[in-house]
Symmetry: C2
Subunit: 359 residues, 2 copies
């Protein structure tokens, strides 16, 4: 018995997508590049703090830094520690609460040693106290701006900041995530409600102080005016978008497909063909299912099992044919794979480990 | 629980569940043991070929071998290769079709070198030819018994077996998976339809030959009469159940909770508390979502985000409290985690790597 890695040798880098074992996550280099540049034009440099939870890939984060963003948003301590280890630790925000002593201490040590700048979100006395005890140096106050999840009530944010400062923590400002407003049918109502949410966040900021007002996501990135872009208007200082880089069918269906191209899909191989259906090897262990079934131009998706996608082909298929499957939700899909293959047309140009998985 | 992977250094091995970082997969040693013994009583020894896709854990498979099962079912080549590497390769069935040359060749090499016995499912000329070309020695003919997924039509199974034998493959028999009958409300109808499916499989078997008739799952295990248990009656030779070992809320809701106890949950930590809701750190990246939301005795689940579970607590909770979350679907949940902690009460008694993830 041993924990032997049973993988067949992958020492030979495939040069063609046709040689990839499946299911395989594929990133279109040109589409990704276009998405990164489009967003960097809208929210340049520090005005965007890309969220790495959407891809969990330090190589992709390095591409985001290459277009000017040096600060990053993380959802888990593992993402923070992995980004620091990859030399991408200029300004890392854990946009999430934790009271895990081991993980807080690991982040605090990196910051103390000058190997990364790490800021942690807090929204309660317990999370402030845990951060201070663990030696965390800098925090943001996470404010409830309408999503029933984390975040302190706006009117209580100032008192929490005071408590944090009394314990020696630097309070850099506020963050608030309007996740409930990411996908709305009526653009006017969305704009109105995002403006309300930002107002609430700015009211909290007035009590909290600090330089940072962090908010937003791919679904609302266009409704935020960042300081750099529009000086003088009500604003946040940075947007936390992540999904824009690779996109998915959910965001495409909500109107963001005009600005951002689908840059990621999963290649599957047809392994069985019936009279009315065919089966590819892209199952629900290879595809985030919380936003529903994925889509494929190869036909109508009937259902997914652990390792199978059953579909009605739009044109006849044969065993061995490849199909492209577009996830409904990119974030959990990436977290299920060990590696993403970067391609240009049929050529594989790079292999990016998805190296920020786990907690 | 039998032979397991070497323990990490003592300093890294938590001794109490209260010291586990979360989200953490926890296996109740006694409940697992009871489930394994219950199933081994019903389908002893070779009458059960446990499906490792449900747990992806060689240490758990070793526990299944310890109660008498030496053959295992796998869904991916990685599972096959990992089981062989762990010394559990007495009789491995890849109950799935593949035309991946690299992976077929890796399995063929293990078999040829005597390090494992590996049988591969085939359901088409293309999969037969791919297996033969890669040097695979033994196959089962996968028969369509009603689930619109893989499997050849029963009346064509004999001809496919002939083709396989002409290419030098040993045809060990047939398999068929009645996945569409796993969860039915009417037990009489379920029994009737499973009997029909088995009839179809046995008709194919009459044409195919060989010693193996493999079928079933946790949802139908009680409707299959295996040769060992009931000589002389219509039967399969082995049942492929997997989920019975750890269980989930889906199978519990379909009447199997009386026989098999919930043996697995995910521990989460409350990280934020609002007026009407609380948030734990068990998100949809830690929980298979295809069967819907997980459940928790701590309250009513509202929704899951990537790293959060928002719920309405049934009794007041505080930041830092632990909650137990039961997955709706165990298989993809296990595939999202790197390790499972084996516990007895609050004591952590072992650490099992989930070492068969991927493809």
């Amino acid at each position: 018995m041993g924990n032997v890695d049973p993988r067949p040798p992958e020492s030979l880098m495939p040069t063609s997508i046709h040689d990839l074992s499946t299911p395989a996550v594929v990133i279109d280099a040109d589409a990704l590049d276009a998405n990164l540049r489009t967003m960097a034009d809208l929210h340049p440099g520090a005005a965007l703090r890309p969220h790495v939870k959407a891809h969990k890939c330090t190589a992709l984060a390095a591409a985001q830094r290459a277009v000017g963003h040096r600060g990053f948003t993380c959802a888990t301590p593992r993402e923070v520690l992995g980004m620091a280890a990859a030399g991408l630790g200029d300004d890392l925000l854990l946009a999430n609460e934790t009271v895990d002593r081991t993980r807080l201490a690991a982040m605090a040590a990196l910051h103390r040693d000058g190997r990364a700048r790490i800021t942690v979100a807090v929204d309660s006395e317990a999370t402030v106290d845990a951060a201070a005890r663990a030696g965390i140096a800098e925090v943001l106050v996470d404010v409830d701006i309408g999503l029933p999840r984390c975040g302190i009530a706006a009117q209580e944010a100032g008192a929490l900041a005071d408590r944090a400062r009394r314990q020696g923590l630097v309070v850099r400002g506020v963050m608030g995530y309007e996740g409930h407003l990411m996908a709305m049918d009526d653009p006017d109502e969305q704009a109105h409600r995002v403006a309300e949410a930002v107002e609430r966040l700015l009211a909290a900021h007035a009590d909290v102080g600090g330089d940072v007002v962090s908010s937003g996501g791919t679904g609302t990135h266009h409704l935020h005016r960042t300081r750099v872009a529009d000086p003088g208007t009500p604003h946040v200082t940075e947007v936390q978008a992540g999904s824009y880089a690779l996109m998915d069918s959910h965001y495409a269906a909500h109107g963001h497909g005009e600005r951002f191209a689908p840059a990621c899909h999963v290649i599957g191989t047809v392994v069985s063909v019936g009279r009315r259906h065919a089966v590819a090897d892209v199952g629900l262990k290879a595809m985030g299912m919380d936003h529903g079934n994925p889509t494929t131009a190869a036909g109508a998706v009937w259902f997914l099992s652990d390792e199978h996608l059953t579909f009605a082909p739009s044109t006849p298929v044969s065993v061995g044919d490849r199909i492209a499957v577009v996830p409904a939700h990119i974030d959990p899909t990436m977290a299920m794979h060990e590696v993403a293959w970067v391609v240009r047309g049929d050529e594989v140009v790079d292999r990016w480990p998805i190296d920020l998985r786990g907690w």
